[in-house]
Symmetry: D3
Subunit: 256 residues, 6 copies
């Protein structure tokens, strides 16, 4: 049995509130158990220097925690004067994951800025950020399409993320909360598309290891969770959900 009474392959209660803030083109408050993240998508009409003149867009993500999102107060990264390695790693992960399901050529020379601000943390903040950011981003591009700024709908598939891990005496579990995460032998973040393909797989046995068999078991649990997450995203997006992947994209395009 798990600390919060869940079954091994059971997600926490998840809720996605869309249109949470008035200024951003897309915004949600995603709640995963006690983890709460504000995800916003902002459209900027230019691209980073390395892409200028390439005729394609970019997705850039930033992640931060309120100082008291956690049990004890953290010093702000702005006060420290630098962003931690953990934050940078998460930011890079969020951006990379979202870029896998957006046709960057179709968005033109624009940058979509994703901001994930954790207001309350109880484990799984990076996966909640990805799951929420996908919805915020989709709403922002839907607005561009509606305003005829984009000719086609550039989101090619659903995208969500969750964690799986191994706990002593419990075994493989899905969607770790903070207490589980702290004591897990193995922790793996999985980002998948609606079609069930992998976008990112980051497994680590901090001071521990895992076998090929354990890996398979974890991937199976992740797959189950992912289906449920897609359904929640679909409901949050309403009619917009139907436009995802609406423009048939062939393999060569996704791979260019």
């Amino acid at each position: 049995m798990r600390v919060d009474g869940r079954k091994a392959d059971e997600l926490r209660n998840i809720h996605i509130e869309t249109g949470y803030l008035k200024h951003p083109e897309g915004s949600v408050l995603i709640t995963v158990g006690d983890t709460k993240v504000i995800c916003t998508a902002s459209i900027e009409d230019r691209v980073p220097p390395f892409l200028r003149g390439e005729g394609k867009g970019w997705i850039s993500a930033e992640y931060s925690m309120l100082p008291r999102a956690t049990e004890t107060r953290n010093i702000r990264e702005s006060s420290r004067g630098k962003v931690s390695g953990r934050t940078m790693e998460i930011q890079r992960l969020i951006g990379r994951a979202l870029r896998a399901v957006v046709d960057l050529e179709a968005i033109g020379e624009r940058t979509i800025w994703i901001d994930c601000d954790v207001i309350q943390a109880d484990g799984g903040t990076r996966t909640a950020s990805i799951t929420g950011a996908f919805v915020a981003l989709t709403m922002a591009v839907a607005k561009l399409v509606e305003e005829k700024e984009l000719p086609t709908f550039p989101v090619t598939d659903f995208l969500a993320a969750t964690s799986v891990g191994i706990i002593e005496e419990v075994g493989v579990i899905l969607d770790l909360n903070y207490i589980e995460d702290s004591s897990a032998l193995v922790d793996m973040n999985v980002v998948m598309t609606g079609a069930g393909e992998f976008v990112e797989l980051q497994g680590t046995g901090e001071e521990s290891t895992f076998t090929a068999g354990q890996l398979q078991e974890m991937l199976a649990a992740a797959k189950k969770g992912m289906k449920e997450l897609s359904a929640i995203q679909k409901e949050a997006l309403g009619e917009i959900a139907e436009k995802i992947g609406s423009k048939p994209t062939d393999g060569s395009e996704k791979q260019s």
Copy 2:
């Protein structure tokens, strides 16, 4: 008539939701019109170096905006690597204001960290921060008192803040929203106690000036707003409100 239909001396709709986050000792979400700020109070059992061994405590405040709290996205201060002058000025103001109504000796060698994170901005974020932070702080110290960590209730009076200003063709107005703030000839932030005394007065005529008569008119409007703010804080605090100033403090003490 004002852009949002308010009367000259009318506050916006204000709501203070207490216990907004689960980890901090005190936390609120304060809503002032479209301005929304999460204010938290965290207790740390030590003081800054300059106070060590002095037998008294400290209140330190930090302020930040989500990148997309505003109309257009702002670069995070953590990405810039430094905190702006505006942010520092606001942080210093919030801390100074709160220290005026807390008996620092009564809290012992502790630091109360105030974090004000603006999630949506529409003018008046610094005054909303002070008004909300006062409630979060009071709840945090109430918890300390309840747990017998403190012998007396250290909050000596109510404290709230609002803005007043002068708009061309309208004259003196109370509680400026962003559009009003942008076009105001004079902008003045006022921090007052429940007893109606001034704690801070910061008036500035950016590229303009104001007369002694206009000053009096603005102070009168501020006083009216302040009474309403105290009532809203009182309701949010419930029973705790009655403990404020419960330990009779004489002038000499406040001035030591």
Copy 3:
């Protein structure tokens, strides 16, 4: 009686030495009691990014103290790698104050850089900086006018600053020195024009408060000091003083 024998509403000995340095377009050494500040004004033929193409100019101020301007040595901000909140607050105040009496459109697309470097500190360094910087700035623009670089004299009125405060057992005093400033219950900086209008009013009761009556008393003392400061500036400026406000400016212009 005050620590240095002055009457409650008496300024310290004040002297303004013009043309103090050979390179800057305008420069003074202002002495206010034991406080000494070098103020320079430098003309740069371009404006900050946010003003480009707007056809108006800008005034930007920087403030610093020599490490040993004070009783004990301070670490240089360049060694720390960042500017303190106090410094930023003062810099913003100086710039804002000066911009209130300069017709920014009349100076064209130029930036006037004001540098205030405190070489000896004994309280009131920010107000001495403003009073001295006004003279340096006026001399610099006078040179531009003389060289036919500017068609009209862009300084619309005199501008000076001083402090007032409340000391226990003494009451309201004018122009606080360091010892007085350290023990004051209330400290208020006032920036006024030659016409007696307010430009900035920053009153703070660090760990204390003040009443409306005390505010009136402080403003009266400030007004008296301000007249004397204008006279000293006038003498320092000589003939140039007569050009100030020479171009009749109506209210709407000052307020645009």
Copy 4:
């Protein structure tokens, strides 16, 4: 066929030169094709703050590239004044991976600093760093054991890393060089122990995705490469290799 004529599951030429520098306790120059990394291990007799008094040690890694390790010159991170997200991510990975095969309690309150400096880059610098750093670290602790500073040999198993990926028209390949890495649809870094268990698995389809079947194929290729890497490390370590894992460690210990 691959760009450099290798078979799909063939490693590049790999050489590990031990004792490369005279000062560090352990040092190697590892050459993987045209990728060259100097890895050193330095013993420090204290631990980071968060471990003080815990009776266990720590392994901390830093990674850097010479500015001209690459095709075009990179700006030094010391000149930029900050370490990039990529560098931080790699540093965290190297440290985490090595900690999985070292009994941190057995090394006592010491930090082993791992420095990986890439002097020439042609893809796979992070995996070469891990493979080389393992040898440098093992030599450094062997010296401690020899000098009777440590009672038991704290390295519990071999550890090496390599990359696998998917290239269009080629399919799954092992040990990607720079050109392959740049055009790969999927790139996966695998860190494994000598016993064939996973320590880290980081797979990413930058702007692409991969199926469960492709994952299995990549893991099989990684396993083959890993065996060869262990053999190369064994030869480089000579007699020291026999001490690895010599102290029987049970599962519970690794998991503590």
Copy 5:
């Protein structure tokens, strides 16, 4: 003939005003032609970490220019957030030079902070800083000796600095002003003791070279200037000058 009419081996007008500021233990305003530097010496009762418990003191120097000390305004190093290479080089030079004539063991575990702030620059700011700082430092230690804080007078000899250089069509010249410095083929800074020995010799032919013969000619000019500088320092120091080197120090001591 030189641009300012001086003879080849003629110093500029030099003046040293002692006791320039009221707070520092020692302070001077040194004027060398149009170059003006405020030099202060501050005593701190502790030493840098690397000297703790060694029973000896340290001398640390900092150097800065006011933004408008020069023809065109320089950005403050505090605004840039970092100290330039040029500034660091000068600071290291000043500290090293002064340490050569102070018996560091005799000052005990104290740091003497030297601050050289250039308020007006016309070439030779680093040599003026050394010459002025020597006087400020000597006055500060004289105060310590007078207050019986030090048993012996720790300054072992006079120390001054000047520049020599080679100008096309003029040849070797002494004490270069800014215009000369800008066009010099060779520029050499010389720091010497009162006894005529070298402490520092820094000659550089930026994009040029110099012969052994030219070197001898420059050293002869430097020697002449140095005698005159010592005389000026002697006069500025008054009676204190007689204490310099008063405690006979043998070679071995200076070399320890």
Copy 6:
């Protein structure tokens, strides 16, 4: 006798391996006793802002040490977030020295970046850097000349550097290793051209002094060492060596 058995005026074993890395236009590994430095030269087709449009090029140098190049591990400057004063001083010296023997107009609007990375340190790292960097730079420009990018060979003379110093009981010595450097009374770095002229002379008696006679003795030892260094560079450069100074340059050109 010296600690390593050398004669007073004997250089250490010196070896220059050219073409050490595959990416840079020029690269060497220079070995001076136990000191090893990788020097690379990279050509960039633009110049720093202050030279734009001047029709001439620039040489910019950077210097760094691996953390464990030394006896005890140094913290990386990238981790510290700033470059030390020592590093900046060395970088400026290397750049300045090389610019003295390169006709900057002849290289056109290009920057030659010199990177000197010390992988093992045993004294004399800055002089080894200059000696090695000269060879790397010469090879890089030879490639430009060969590819017809440059019409003439822009290197006007050989350039090398070494140190001389004074050791107690030994006297003047050439090419100090780390132990000698640590105990030297005087330490002087000399940069000379193949023609025997001085480019840089930096002598310092840290906490000591030296006479004119000792200076002459040191310069004589330096001259001897310099001849041997030029011969080693010549051999390393092979045929390219003959092109150095091939285009007769007159004094006026060098001095422009």
